[in-house]
Each structure stands twice: as C-alpha cells, then as structure tokens.
C-alpha cells in the first residue's frame, strides 16, 4: 500500500477535476463521486496503516520519490512523499474524518443547487491536505499548505452572494498568506543554509547549523504556523471563517487544516530542538492563544463562533505542548487527533441543530433541544465531556497530559505555562458547558414557526461514529502508551519528566477547576433563564465578544494605515511620479516657448544669429588654433 500512497492525493484530485469539468451534467451524481473518492482514500490510508503496523518500528518511515519537480539552478526539489508514523497519523485523521463529513454533507447540502461544487472543493481540500502531510520537502508541503488555504477560501466563500462571506473568505486567505510569508522566508533561509528544502537535508543538517539561523527558521516557521492554525497574532480569521457551511467548519476549521501549523512545528522538531528561544516563543504563542480563545468563547452567542474560539484555544494547547520538546510533540499530536474527533463531532452536532432550527445560530434562541434531538444531544454530549477532559473520555488522556507537561521545567516557565493551561481548562469547561446548556437544556426559547426535529441518518451516523471516537479513542491510544510508542521514532523522546507539582495533585486540580466551570455554567445557563437578547455587556464581556478587539487592532494597525498608504500611493503615483514626468514635459514646453522668441520669423534676426554663430566659431578656431 505504501507504494501507492500517491493515490491518496491523486484520487481526490481526479474527483475534483471531474466534478469541475463535468459541469451541470454531474449534478445528479457528483456528491456520491465525492463521497466515493474520500472513502477510497480512507481505505487506502487504513490499508497503509496496517501495512506499516506490520513492520518494525525502525523501518516504518519510507520515502516515495515521484518525479523531479523544480530543478532550477542549485535548487533541486523532487516531488516526493514521506510516509512515516507522523504523516500517517494525519492521513488517517484527515481521511476518516473527511469521509464521515462527506457523508454528512450529502444530507446537509441537499437543497443547495451547487452541491456538486461543494463536493469538488471538499475533494480538493482532501487532496491538498494529504499533500501537505505527505510531502517530503518544505516546498511541496507549501503546495499543500496553500492548496488547503485555497480550498478553505473557496468553501468559506461558498455562499459568496453575501458580501460578508466573501470578505471572510478574503480575510482568511490574506491572513494565511501573511503566515505563508514566513514559510517562504524560512525556505529561503534553509536553502541558503543547507542548499535544499527537503526534510531529510534540513532536519538532518540542523545539528551543524548555527543557533541564530535555526532560531530564524524556527520563528519564521512559527509565523506560518500561526497563520494557518489561527494562533496569536494571526487568529482573527477563524471566527469569520464560520461563514462557510458547517461541514466545512467541522472538517477544515476544526479538525484538520487549522492543525497544520502544529504539524509543521512538530515536523520541524529537529530545528526547534536546537533552539530554545524559538521553542519558548512557540510555547508563549500557544499559551496566549489558549487563554484568548477560551475568553472569547465564553462571551459569544453564535454557536459556531464558540466552537471556533474553542478550536483556537485547543490548538493553543497543542502549540504550548509543541513548545515543550519531543514529549510535547507526541501529546500535541495526540490532542490534535482527539480534538479532531470531538471537535468535528460537535461541529456536526451544531450543524444538525442549525439544520433543525432553520440556520439559526444564536444560542439565545435555542434551549431545551434535548428532547427534540436525542441523537444529536447524546453525540454532542459525548464531545462536550471529552473536551472537558472528563475521565475516561478522550480529552482526559490528551489535554490533561498537556497540562501536566506544562508544569515541567525550571524557573518561571512551568508556573506560567502550567497555570495558564490549568486556568484555560477551567474556562473551557465553563464555555463549553455554557454552549451545551444553552442549546440543549433550560427553557425553550425558539419561536413557534421553528419545529426542531432530528436530522436524517446520513447526518446522524457520522456524528455517532465521531462520538464513539471522542469517547474511546483517547483511552484506546493511551492504553499501554500505544500512541507514544507509535510516534516516538519520529519525534524522538526526552526521557522521564517530572512536573513541579505532583501528577495526582494536578489531575485533582484540573478536575476541580473543570467542575467549578461546569457548575458556574449550570447555575447561569440552566437554572437561570437566559434572556433572548444579549444583556448590556460589561467591558470585559464586550472585549471578549469582539474577539478581544482583534479586528479593531488589525484595522487600526494594518487596515486603516494600509488603506491610507495605498490611497496615498495611488494619488502620489498619479500626482507626484506621473506628475513629475508631466512637470518635466511642461518645463520642456516652457523652454520651447522661451526659445520661440528667438524664432521671430524675421529673416534679419536669423541672419544676425547666423553671423554671430559663425563669428564665435571662427574666433574659437583662430584663437584656439
């Protein structure tokens, strides 16, 4: 199976092309083609996984060289795939979650006339995402990296007849591009330093390079990661990206694409290993984002935006973990996988709710949906418990381990990171419970013409599968350190780590904080009535509702100066640069006008000038000669 890994990319890409080129003829069966393509890649992925399991741990990594891609000057880049434990983990996550969401979308998008295009874009996304994780060089990774950005752009703007959706799509693409800038610069540095941009050469040569160079590479890669993974300070696009159809939010903006930044950092582990500064920055970025996302999530009333903020926050956890070294990588990826399941499950649940509530997203208009939508309630509830970290559900095994790891280290770092992660867990419990209670419990706040009903099987079955995953995947993978053993050959290991506080104490503390968060939410949003109009906010809530003013900051720092700059430049180009040219022309014309006075048309003046000229020349010759 490993030798046909290229099919993983080729199949969905071919499906995308067929769906695009077939046009309206494919409207009848296009979505099933999309589902088939994603299912086939899921099967190939699973096949490859079992084939790899059959090998020794050492020989599980395999490179597949496809063809020479760019061969320009000293830059030689092959299109090649790197299949190892890390990339295969992602392949499984992407293909399985992807296939489930494809199935879900068949029902969710049933009434959309452009359903075929939707599936085409989803397939494009799958292809690009798999290219991203399977690439064996940074440059090829970049192709997938921008490819998922493109798919994300297309899907966020899927309903682009609404101007705000089109703007959101643009915003996502441009912010991502800002991150990509970092990746390009990183590749430039790598090429200058190592003469290559393939993982093998760069990561293999990292030992011999100077720390300054590696720090520069680390920081620029981090910039790329923050863009793609919606980390501080490039987090602003994710909330707006919820304008896309909900399955997209589930697949791209929760489970897979946004985690690519974590993948990039983990994949470049060898570089971060060698540079403490860059690693520290990664951890700081993660810590900031996890708190930021949690706070924002607590104040939003839009169910999808709460989940988006939650995604940001959870990826913050992963980043924080990735900033902690090899053992952190493993749990970053572990959390990434579990988060992929329960977050996708919850997004699909949210989609199911919206489906039932005629696309209402305001949680203040929900309430008491438990009875109307039992399956959704159960599956969502499992996801909720999982993200809270309630044992023995998935989140407990991944997130709590990250909190533990955050307490590892010396000096101020364990205390700052650890407490941040700990407090983040409490806030997470609060806002996720708030979401859950506001939606499914309390009093019904919907209007009469809405008739909540359970979604069709095509939608609920994927939700059930994901819920099962949310519940038991963590336990399954954590048992006997399965996941750790699986990934260690790729990420390396950093031996036994001892947190500054004892592990049982940490677990107790975490659970206590989670319980407190749940209790607070219960008291505020289940026991008490929730007003259907948001109450006038306090300053803190206002800030959180406005995404901590990130858009205002962006507007003040980039957009408004940028707009002024471009306007000024446009004006200056016309008035100054072009103006200078025209001024010159005017000057020449004025000179001509002045010299016209000599051209009086009077023969005698001309004769006079001729004689003068002759005399001057002759004198020069006579005197000079």
């Amino acid at each position: 199976m490993l030798s046909v890994t290229w099919l993983l990319i080729a199949v969905p890409l071919a499906s995308f092309l067929v769906l695009m080129l077939a046009g309206r003829r494919a409207d009848a069966w296009g979505h099933w083609l999309g589902v088939a393509a994603s299912s086939v890649v899921a099967l190939i992925g699973i096949g490859a996984f079992f084939q790899m399991l059959g090998r020794d741990a050492e020989s599980r990594s395999e490179s597949v060289r496809l063809f020479t891609w760019i061969s320009g000057g000293d830059l030689q880049v092959d299109a090649g795939l790197l299949v190892d434990q890390l990339s295969l983990t992602f392949v499984l996550l992407v293909t399985i979650v992807g296939a489930l969401i494809h199935v879900y979308s068949v029902a969710y998008m049933e009434n959309d006339p452009r359903r075929r295009m939707f599936f085409a874009y989803l397939n494009l996304f799958i292809a690009a995402m798999l290219l991203l994780v399977l690439a064996d060089s940074y440059l090829l990774l970049f192709v997938g990296w921008e490819g998922v950005g493109l798919a994300s752009y297309l899907l966020i703007g899927f309903w682009n007849h609404k101007p705000e959706n089109a703007t959101a799509a643009n915003k996502a693409f441009v912010v991502n591009r800002t991150g990509d800038f970092g990746l390009i610069v990183a590749m430039a540095i790598m090429f200058t330093q190592f003469g290559s941009v393939s993982f093998a050469d760069v990561l293999g040569g990292a030992d011999g390079a100077s720390t300054a160079v590696l720090t520069a590479i680390g920081l620029t890669l981090l910039l790329a990661a923050t863009g793609k993974s919606a980390q501080f300070p490039l987090q602003s696009w994710l909330g707006d990206a919820m304008a896309g159809p909900t399955p997209v939010s589930a697949l791209i903006h929760a489970a897979t694409m946004v985690t690519a930044g974590v993948y990039l950092v983990v994949r470049s582990g060898a570089i971060y290993e060698a540079t403490d500064d860059a690693r520290l920055v990664v951890a700081i970025v993660g810590a900031i984002t996890l708190i930021l996302g949690a706070i924002i999530g607590s104040a939003k009333d839009d169910i999808k935006k709460v989940l988006a903020a939650s995604t940001m926050s959870q990826i913050g956890y992963m980043m924080l973990a990735a900033g902690l070294g090899p053992i952190g990588y493993i749990f970053a990826i572990f959390h990434l996988v579990t988060n992929g399941f329960f977050k996708a499950g919850m997004f699909l649940g949210a989609g199911s709710v919206m489906h039932a509530m005629k696309d209402q997203v305001d949680m203040r208009r929900f309430g008491a949906l438990r009875t109307a939508m039992v399956t959704t309630w159960i599956t969502f509830g499992l996801g909720w418990l999982a993200i809270l970290g309630v044992p023995p559900l998935s989140g407990f095994w991944s997130k709590d381990k990250i909190i533990e790891l955050a307490f590892v280290g010396e000096g101020w770092q364990p205390w700052v990171f650890g407490l941040t992660a700990l407090i983040g867990a409490g806030i997470t419990a609060f806002y996720m419970s708030r979401l859950f209670f506001m939606t499914f419990h309390g009093k019904a706040r919907w209007t009469d013409e809405q008739h909540p009903h359970e979604s069709p099987l095509l939608m609920t079955v994927p939700m059930m599968v994901l819920a099962v995953g949310s519940a038991f995947l963590g336990l399954f993978l954590a048992a006997g350190n399965r996941f750790q053993n699986w990934l260690e050959p790729v990420t390396g290991t950093s031996g036994e780590l001892e947190p500054v506080l004892a592990v049982p104490v940490l677990i107790t503390l975490t659970l206590a904080l989670v319980a407190a968060g749940v209790a607070l939410a219960y008291w505020m949003y289940w026991r008490n009535d929730v007003p259907t109009e948001a109450p006038p906010p306090s300053l803190a809530v206002l800030a959180a509702r406005n995404d901590m003013f990130q858009d205002s900051v962006n507007r003040a720092v980039f957009q408004i100066p940028g707009t002024h700059l471009t306007r000024t430049l446009v004006y200056a180009d016309a008035a100054l640069v072009d103006g200078a040219v025209n001024k010159q022309a005017t000057g020449i014309a004025a000179f001509g006008e002045a010299s016209r006075r000599f051209q009086s048309g009077k023969v005698r003046s001309y004769a006079l000038l001729m004689l003068l000229g002759f005399l001057v020349l002759a004198s020069i010759i006579v005197v000079g000669g």
Partner: protein, 99 residues
C-alpha cells in the same frame, strides 16, 4: 604695393555687404548687399590668384560670376513674385518662418 591689400579691401567690402543684409529691410537692397559680398569674395580670389601666380583663382571667380548671374535672375524673380503677392518687399513682413 602688394596685392594682399586687395584682400583687405575685399574684407572691408564684405563687411559692408554683410551689414547691409542685416540692416536693410528692402529685399532688393539686401540682395545688393549679397552681391557685394560675392564680389568681395571674387576680389579675394583674384588677388590670391595673382599672388600665387596661377590662373585657377580667376577661373573660379569666373564661375562665381556665372552662378551669381543665375542667382540674381532667380532671386529677382522671387522678389517680383513676392511683391505681387504681398504688395511689399520688406524683409520684416514674411514672418511665416516664425516658430
């Protein structure tokens, strides 16, 4: 007395001719100035011919005379044509050369 004095004389005549061209507005007068300049040149040619001892200078002067005769014919014809068209032969008037 050396024939070179005739060259000086020719220089004086040439200067007078040039000044005439520059100063007189009447086209015929200016034209006469041109003729005077031509003659001054001829005088130079002949004087130098005498000094060198050959005859080529005289031949040259002869040619100048012939060409000058032709030139006078055409020039005066032009003056007549202009005077018919404009009722004037002042050099200051035809300002179509004005740029």
């Amino acid at each position: 007395m050396s024939p070179v004095n005739f060259v000086y004389l020719a220089a004086v005549l040439f200067a007078i001719g040039a000044a005439t061209v520059l100063l007189r507005r009447n086209a015929i007068m200016a034209f006469m100035g041109v003729e005077l300049m031509l003659n001054a040149a001829n005088l130079t040619l002949v004087a130098f011919s005498r000094m060198v001892g050959g005859i080529e200078g005289q031949i040259m002067a002869f040619f100048v005379m012939v060409v000058a005769a032709a030139e006078v014919v055409v020039g005066l014809a032009i003056i007549i044509a202009v005077s018919r068209a404009r009722q004037s032969i002042s050099l200051d008037e035809p300002s179509e050369l004005k740029g």
